[in-house]
Amino acid sequence: MVVTTGWYLALGAALFSMGAVGLLVRRNPLVMFMCVELMLNAVNLTFVSLGAELADLGGQLSVFFVLVVAAAEVVVGLAVIVAIMRRRPGATVDDLSVLGG
């Protein structure tokens, strides 16, 4: 039996869906962030495996930039969470619905 690219892609799809579901059901903003990281990793995996399939370095290069953007996003996101939590300790995202119409 040989591990084909399809296997990696199916795994990526599963991991991505898992992250998406986590984002929808969890209420702790930190955990929601972790779920976003899961989704990003699923995409990274897809990039690298397709890059291997095409024998192209582009997939790995894309991952590199996703990594950097993810780092920046985490930094800003966590700062926002810190700012919110200071004012309202223990808040969940459902409590922050003041922008509702």
């Binding site: 998406a20 984002l23 929808l24 059901v25 209420r27 995202v93 459902d94 922050l96 619905s97 003041v98 922008l99 509702g100 119409g101």
Partner: protein, 642 residues
């Protein structure tokens, strides 16, 4: 030099911009001096252009100076450009010259007013608009100035807007002018439709070439006349002008003597080829309208007690003369009278302002009397203005009025007779004004009806009449000199002394009528006019100074009430008119607004449905994104060659 014509309107505009933003900081009297200075500069620029133009031969005296393209829209292309020709330069000369004097006068008159800088900002803006009106090289630019002076007259008439009466007068002027503006706009539309251009050069040349159908020319000319009637306060749209006296007196002098009200005459003179092309009854209409207004307003002026109201109706009457001249084909005489009138009426208005200033704001002539002892300069200059308007030779009014009457005789003796009657009445009411104000014994200290002793005593103690400061009397003196000598620019003795006629020739396209009457008839007509004026003066002296004739027959209540026209219009508007307005209002409220609100309500209800999706819950939004992503994927799948 001609290329520098843009300086003429640009300087007042610059003055306005500086004053409107920094006027409060500049304060008094700096703001006034700045405004006067830019007007002086503007006058000097005009003078330079005038000297340049005067040195040229007659066919060379027309130039279009284009600054930039303003409205490029399909076939319509309007430039910001100036038409420099004898007519516009003549207008500019007295607008900037008299305007500068009035600015100078205002420095003294508006002393201590809270809105000092604002006043001068408006004055500068007004002058700018007026200069755009006369200098614009197309009907649209003239219309820009036309609306500009309308807006500025609103601002200036209701300058002391805390008094409801002043604000109402401003609104009245504005609304009445709108009716005239409608005529102007229709004329503009018809002009563009006919000629494909709004530029004076194109329109007038095409019209002179005789390519216009008579019906079209008639329509345009009549619509222009409607516009001119509104702006130049002719019957029946004169109603705003007497009320406009609510503004400060320099405003009355600037707007209602020298500038804005002459714009109607200017427009008709400018468009003279179209009038020449139109049906024969159009000039007749203009002439009869003019002479009718002149006589009508003169009768009203006989019985007014407010010094400024007398001058206001006198202005309406004199403008009627100018229309009579235009209708008689005497465009030179119209411009001539416009110039002399600008001088002597500005002088009279400013003189009345000086009197009002000296009487502490009192405008009722019944309270005046004997002011010659307190105000020698004002009295002297006022007398010059009086002689000029009454048509006493050799003062300027005599020459211009005489020329108009000669042309009126040429047109129809009836027109001449009515014009002569108006001249007699003019001499009468102006003499009455002089007699009541300056001659006789002072009545300012007398007890007035409805006033008890204590009030009269406080008033007596509060002030006595006094002469105005030098910034106010200096313009009076200059204007008085001009009112004396202005008549010499157009002397009827021979064709070589008609300098104004030669100068204006390129603007008139040979549409000026030539007198068919001989020299002897002219002399006789002039003699009759002088005698008529002297009769008017004599009767007024007998009534108001000697007291030999009772004054009651001359001061009919119906005249004091301006033939009840104002009141009738107000009654009509308050009665049937109001019901019409209310019906229109109901239509607006129920049908128009109903449609608007109905659509708004529909949108609101739809938005209420969408609003449920926007609940502020981040996770709900995320669900939406997830569903959307899934739907997109499904769409991709259906599109693929699966």
């Amino acid at each position: 030099m001609v290329d520098l014509i843009w300086l003429v309107p640009a300087l007042p505009l610059a003055g306005f911009i500086v004053l409107i933003f920094a006027g409060r900081r500049i304060g008094e009297p700096g703001a006034g001096w700045l405004a006067t200075g830019v007007m002086g500069g503007s006058f000097l620029a005009t003078l330079g252009v005038f000297i340049d133009m005067a040195g040229r031969s007659s066919h060379d005296r027309r130039a279009v100076v284009t600054l930039f393209e303003w409205i490029p829209a399909g076939d319509l292309s309007v430039d910001i450009g100036f038409l420099v020709d004898p007519l516009s330069i003549t207008m500019c000369l007295f607008i900037t010259g008299v305007g500068a004097l009035i600015h100078l006068y205002s420095v003294g008159y508006m002393h201590g007013d809270d809105g000092f800088a604002r006043f001068f900002a408006y004055l500068n803006l007004f002058t700018f608009a007026m200069l755009m009106l006369v200098l614009g090289d197309s009907l649209l630019l003239t219309f820009l100035g036309w609306e500009g002076v309308g807006a500025c007259s609103y601002l200036l008439i209701s300058f002391w807007f805390t008094e409801p009466a002043n604000a109402t007068a401003g609104k009245k002027a504005f609304v009445t002018n709108r009716i005239g503006d409608w005529g102007f706009m229709v004329a503009m539309f018809a002009t563009f439709f006919t000629f494909g251009s709004l530029d004076y050069v194109d329109v007038l040349d095409a019209s002179t070439a005789g390519t216009v159908a008579q019906g079209t020319a008639t329509l345009i000319a009549v619509m222009l006349l409607v516009g001119a009637v509104g702006k130049s306060a002719q019957f029946p749209l004169y109603l705003w002008l007497p009320d406009a006296m609510a503004g400060p007196t320099p405003v009355s002098a600037l707007i209602h003597a020298a500038t804005m009200v002459t714009s109607g005459v200017y427009l008709l003179t400018r468009m003279n080829p179209l009038i020449a092309d139109s049906a024969g009854w159009v000039p007749d209409l203009v002439a009869w309208l003019g002479v009718g207004t002149a006589l009508f307003a003169a009768t009203i002026a006989m019985a007014q007690t407010d010094i400024k109201k007398v001058l206001a109706y006198s202005t309406v009457s004199q403008l009627g003369y100018m229309f009579l001249a235009v209708g008689s084909g005497a465009y030179v005489a119209a411009v001539f009278h416009m110039v002399t009138h600008a001088f002597f009426k500005a002088l009279l208005f400013l003189g009345s302002g000086s009197v009002i200033h000296g009487m502490d704001g009192d405008q009722d002539m019944r309270h005046y009397g004997g002011l010659r002892r307190f105000m020698p300069v004002t009295t002297g200059t006022f007398v010059v203005g009086w002689l000029a308007i009454a048509g006493v030779p050799p003062f300027s009014g005599f020459w211009s009025k005489d020329e108009i009457l000669a042309f009126a005789w040429n047109r129809s003796p009836v027109l001449w007779a009515l014009g002569l009657l108006t001249a007699v009445l003019t001499a009468f009411y102006m003499t009455r004004l002089i007699a009541l104000t300056f001659a006789g014994e002072g009545r300012y200290a007398e007890q007035r009806p409805g006033e008890d002793d204590a009030e009269a005593a406080t008033r007596r103690a509060d002030h006595t009449p006094h002469e105005s400061p030098r910034t106010m009397t200096a313009p009076l003196v200059v204007l008085a000199v001009l009112a004396v000598v202005a008549g010499f620019v157009q002397l009827p003795f021979s064709s070589s002394t008609g300098w104004l006629e030669h100068w204006l020739e390129p603007s008139l396209y040979a549409n000026e009528v030539h007198l068919g009457t001989g020299g002897a008839t002219q002399v006789l007509l002039a003699a009759i006019a002088v005698v008529g004026g002297l009769v008017g003066i004599g009767v007024a002296v007998a009534v108001y100074m000697k007291g030999r004739i009772p004054r009651e027959p001359f001061e009919q209540p119906i005249l004091a009430d301006a033939w009840r026209i104002d009141r009738s219009v107000a009654a009509f508007m308050g009665g049937p008119g109001r019901r019409g307005f209310e019906a229109a209002n109901r239509f607006d409220g129920q049908v128009v607004d109903g449609a608007v609100y109905g659509i708004a309500g529909l949108v609101r209800r739809l938005a209420g449905v969408l609003r449920m999706f926007h609940n502020g819950m981040v996770r709900t939004y995320a669900t939406g994104i997830g569903l959307g992503a899934a739907a997109l994927l499904a769409w991709f799948l259906t599109r693929s060659t699966l």
